[in-house]
Symmetry: C2
Subunit: 288 residues, 2 copies
């Protein structure tokens, strides 16, 4: 099937098909993919066959398709997602082990917060955060931290776009939200008690990258009870400080006194000190 | 630039560009992408522009490109990668906390083991495992477990394709490897002492899915010293049993007495019990 407009439209069709998969619908038939993507059935068949050929889709025994492991493998080369998560992980695990509820890492993506990691325990409080999932900025504590440190023009856009209401406690008025953002900047943390679910409280702090810019938020989701937030805030601030230092060390030129070991691997890999030194010195001689 | 062969070759060029990024080269210029992918410079420019438009590549200030967060976001819809990792994670964290070295989850992908997760600590022993990275089956303990449970024809292919030598202790002879695989099947675990690095020992056990098939391996990488392996093997076997049970519960039809909560979300999300019930009951009424 020749197509004179080639390039752009092929990728746009591919993205339409891939974008149809969601946590609601991880397994889809070609008909469902066609219906939900709005692409004609014949086109969908062709795109699906191509994607399957490259391992980007996998066919199940029941003839549904799911997104392929090969796509995930390529996605492990994202400094902005997996790389950041690798750097933050040991500190996030410490927070998780202390709090024994949910501990998460989120970044600003579009007008939402996108979660790069969520560590949970079986008996933790209700929490709607999904890995690779998004939440509105005004409703989640991580989102509030990211919004509080965003430029004024961006804040104005978010405020103008409407504030989804989850519970009686979700911030609804732009004036209230502006006051809350000022308070978050001043105190250095956000607390959202029952903003998304009455039983849950989010507590978040910013993670700074180079040049004092906020590049992420780490947060916990804990029961919305009478427990004081401050001990948890201190725990999160300690972890955020360590993540910021690790992030800066990972992006300084290799070999300097403040730089992390691991050479060019540091943007994607954060393993033990010995492993990073080994990677830096030996990977070239002995490709893995 | 119209191209009459359209579809397949467009995706093949896209894959050539995306496949050029690696942990060695997370940031690349268009010229480097062209050189390494073997695509003409003009074609590379066009493919890069398209990928950037959809967020699959991100342009840095120094004009290099990196793989985009949007690609990672789509990859979070992979039941075979992120989904499996979500199910295994709480148990893998328990192993990691007990061993305080590296704890990892790997699957068979092609003729190699692909690692879906690696939890590490700062002072852990040297370890070459990367998240999203691959290792040869005969050299890594996880790979040995997966190979031991693979069909005979697959084993024959792997044995015939040559056994890369990392250290003096890497298994080199097909006969030796066959004896080792038989032993692994009998004992239910693999120990690789110094197979990849003299200082490191890998210990791995299989994770069973439905119908007694081996779907993954969990492993630790610990110092290659005189410490007995059996206590760690027991720890891993306990975790693997729990992961297998969680995996089976996640793939039984929703609502049954043995099924995990969370309805159709279970293939991708494993959060706390309350969160899974909430997702199952409320996500439809109140889209997140």
């Amino acid at each position: 099937m020749a197509n004179a407009s080639a390039g752009r439209s092929v990728l746009s069709r591919i993205m339409q098909v891939l974008g149809t998969f969601d946590v609601d619908s991880a397994f889809l038939t070609v008909s469902q993919l066609s219906q939900r993507s709005g692409l004609p059935l014949a086109t969908t068949h062709r795109v699906v066959a191509e994607l399957e050929q490259f391992g980007l889709l996998e066919r199940e025994r029941d003839k549904t398709y799911r997104i392929g492991v090969r796509l995930w493998e390529i996605a492990c080369r994202t400094p902005g997602a997996l790389g950041l998560r690798e750097i933050a992980m040991p500190y996030l695990q410490d927070v998780h082990f202390s709090v024994r509820q949910h501990a998460q890492l989120g970044i600003l993506q579009g007008h939402e917060v996108l979660f790069l990691e969520r560590l949970s325990t079986r008996n933790a409080v209700v929490n709607v955060t999904l890995i690779g999932g998004r939440l509105p900025l005004h409703a989640s504590s991580s989102g509030l931290v990211l919004l509080a440190h965003a430029p004024g023009s961006f804040q104005a856009e978010v405020l103008a776009s409407g504030l989804v209401k989850y519970t009686e406690d979700t911030v609804q008025s732009p004036a209230h939200l502006r006051r809350l953002l000022a308070q978050i900047r001043e105190q250095g943390h956000a607390v959202g008690s029952g903003f998304i679910h009455p039983a849950a409280r989010g507590i978040a702090v910013p993670v700074y990258g180079l040049k004092e810019s906020v590049v992420a938020a780490i947060s916990v989701v804990v029961p919305n009870d009478s427990a004081p937030a401050l001990p948890t805030v201190r725990l999160l601030k300690d972890a955020a400080r360590q993540i910021s230092a690790a992030l800066q060390a990972a992006y300084l030129p290799p070999g300097g006194p403040q730089s992390a070991g691991g050479g060019k691997y540091r943007a994607l890999v954060h393993s033990s000190r010995n492993s990073m030194e080994f990677l830096e010195q030996h990977r070239k001689d002995h490709p893995l």
